[in-house]
Amino acid sequence: MDRKRSNQIALISIRIFSAVSIAILIVILGYLLFRGLRYSNRKEIKVIPIASINNEFNVYANKSAKLDYLDWFTLQSMAMGRVRTLRTISKVNEKFHLYIDPRVSDQFYSYLATDKLDKFIIKDSTAINYKEDKGGMIVLPITESAPSGYRSIKIYDNVVVVNKEVTQLLNNKKIGAVTLTQIEELKNNKIDNWNSLNGPSLKPDFIANASESELANNPGSISIVKAKEYSMMKNVETLDVVNIESGWNISLDYLLSNSEESGSFGGIFSIIVNTLIMIFLVILISTPIGLGAAVYLSQYAKKGRITTIIRSGIDLLAGVPSIIFGLFGMLVFVQLFGWSFSLISGSLTLSLMILPTIIRTSEESINSVDKNMISASRGLGATKIETIFKIVLPAAKNGIVTGIILAVGRALGETAALVFTIGSSTDIASKLTSSSRVLAQHIYLTIIEGQSIDHAFSAALVLIILELIINTTAKKLMNKGKKNGK
């Protein structure tokens, strides 16, 4: 009984441990999918992220501007002509243009408590091509509908104001940003003491629509006022509010637009193109050599020292870490041959790296070709090489192609070997000697250079999808080959 029990336990443990492998895979792929598709960032902003409703005008922005909301302060800066580009606002590299319908220009500027600037007021709307102006924003009466290609922008114009004592730094503690829920609780006096929010020990006192003096004279007091009112107050502080911004991380636009300024802006189209060019080069270089070696080992090599040496060479080459390939590529292709950081240096390095993979799988396929057919061809008078080209290689093509596809999959995901060989320009490579950047390496550089990690995830999603396609294609081909084989 004891043996039977331990047998059962052991077998169940084996199953559980094996299942862990699958669990890990699901977690990784799932997480990648999730982070790659949607981004969700916690930001702390000065205004309450609830849209205000305006009875007079609406604000619209070009869809390409990727604006979702604006806070009152930014809108005011824009109206004052202080915003030139959207780079810091929505991470889009476009010049900002403001258009104000003359019918609402007075209301707009009074809402923003600043002087009218004539240059933004539309004189002749037919002269403006709104759709083409990717950084365009327009203020229209609510009776008008948005130009095509534009969508409406939420305006947040409420701030949380508090007495100065609430935000003071006491014993290394200072109140941080508050969430919308906490604001509600403060409104309903559900929070007894500011110190539960990491503030000083004071009782919160919520005053609806307070005036400056009410706030200044009441320690612990808090109110919600319009940003415009706040801008004229002096003796009060604001609390930052937590805003979760989420949206689609990946889009057709992202995939099809070029990368700009080392990947800080734009999409990854140019990088994908570079990757494809590199793959093409790698296949071009490594296939003849790899096939040649495989044919030699399978059809020509005799048991002897030369064959052993060649096989050992292939095995050793397969074990060299990618970083060392990178160093080798740097010394030989970048420096010695003088090609500098370029597409060709990187492609050559990768070709050498995947050589063993191609050789091994090709040799296996070639070995499994029916030897009788080979004899028949020789018996009809064909030479060895003629037989190889006409009979052997066509018969082994499924296995050979599978091997190439798998090797390409490996090259696609390679980073360390490319960091010191291929360069880092995000432009589409114009010549073999152009510095260029490819997908996997781009993800690495994005992280290392501190760019948006959401960007890294979306690029990673593209990479993993490519890899999955490659793997399934290779498997399908391999199975087809097995079925057709004798």
Binding site: I22, V320, L327, F328
Partner: protein
């Protein structure tokens, strides 16, 4: 009708033989060239840096007034990370290998096999990214330290070497003759007893080879570890601390190194190369002993 000259066909035959031999030889040339170039760049280090200091000092400070190039902390970190990853990976990998070879049919086995293949196809940069987003916070919140640590690197590496160990071990386990297993069962042993008393010991040399091969992969991994390991060139045996492996050292400093610093990096590469060569030789020795013992 145009005659195809037999002479041309023969000429093609003999020249193709030479060409194909050259293709085969390219692998050998490449390995030799790699060795020569790396050594050529790395050896000059020892004109200024004594070998003892290089190998045994934990002081790596290339930018100090008096620069020091000691890689001992990196060696320790590399070994630590590799061994830890093996400890994490082994139970899962061996179980999967045993499961796949003993219970080869069935839906779960198919899923397991596909899963392993998929894991093997994930590029190291993606493992690194996953490490930053998931493993580092996990270590930070549940274990300690700031998350970027050798422990995080070990966890990621463990996942990466799973397919290697599983594939090779499975082959070895499958190669154990059925008669041995049948004999064990016939004597009344349970499945588990057969596995750990007969099957695994018989497949041991193959399993050990797979482990050593995986060790070679782990010690040579760069991209994933550099993103989660913390990259602090200090000596520490505590896995929660940040650390830097040999590979991390090379990729981090190479972009700005020059002079003796750069030679030292190549010397680091030499050291890495030697480690991997040793591991490969051990595998070859095991396989040869296996073949001789029959």
């Amino acid at each position: 009708m145009r005659n195809k000259s037999i002479k041309i066909r023969k000429r093609l035959e003999s020249s193709s033989r030479v060409f194909l031999l050259l293709c085969g030889a390219i692998s050998v040339f490449t390995v030799i060239l790699i060795t020569i170039f790396i050594v050529q760049q790395g050896l000059p280090t020892f004109k200024t840096v004594p070998i003892k200091e290089f190998l045994f000092s934990t002081d790596w400070s290339p930018s100090a007034d008096i620069p020091h190039y000691g890689v001992a902390s990196f060696v320790v970190a590399s070994i630590e990370v590799t061994l830890l990853s093996m400890i994490f990976a082994l139970p899962i990998a061996l179980s999967s290998a045993i499961y796949l070879s003993e219970f080869a049919k069935g839906r779960f086995a198919k899923i397991l096999r596909s899963g392993i293949e998929l894991l093997a196809g994930i590029p190291s940069i993606i493992y690194g990214l996953f490490g930053i987003a998931v493993v580092v916070p996990f270590v930070r919140n549940f274990i300690g330290g700031n998350g970027y640590s050798l422990l995080s690197a070990s966890i990621i590496l463990a996942i990466m070497i799973l397919p290697t160990i599983i594939n090779f071990s499975e082959v070895s386990i499958k190669a154990v003759p059925d008669e041995l297993k049948a004999a064990s069962i016939a004597m009344g042993a349970t499945t588990w007893q057969t596995i750990y008393r007969v099957t695994v010991p018989s497949a041991l040399s193959g399993i050990v080879s797979s482990i050593i091969l995986a060790l070679g992969r782990a010690i040579g991994e760069t991209t994933a570890v550099v993103l989660v390991g913390g990259n602090a060139p200090i000596f520490s045996t505590n896995p929660i601390d940040m650390g830097r492996t040999l590979t991390m050292n090379i990729i981090t400093d190479m972009s700005y190194a020059e002079g003796v610093h750069m030679s030292a990096l190549f010397a680091t590469a030499m050291l890495l190369f030697i480690f991997i060569l040793l591991l490969n030789l051990i595998v070859v020795a095991i396989m040869r002993k296996e073949r001789l013992d029959g």
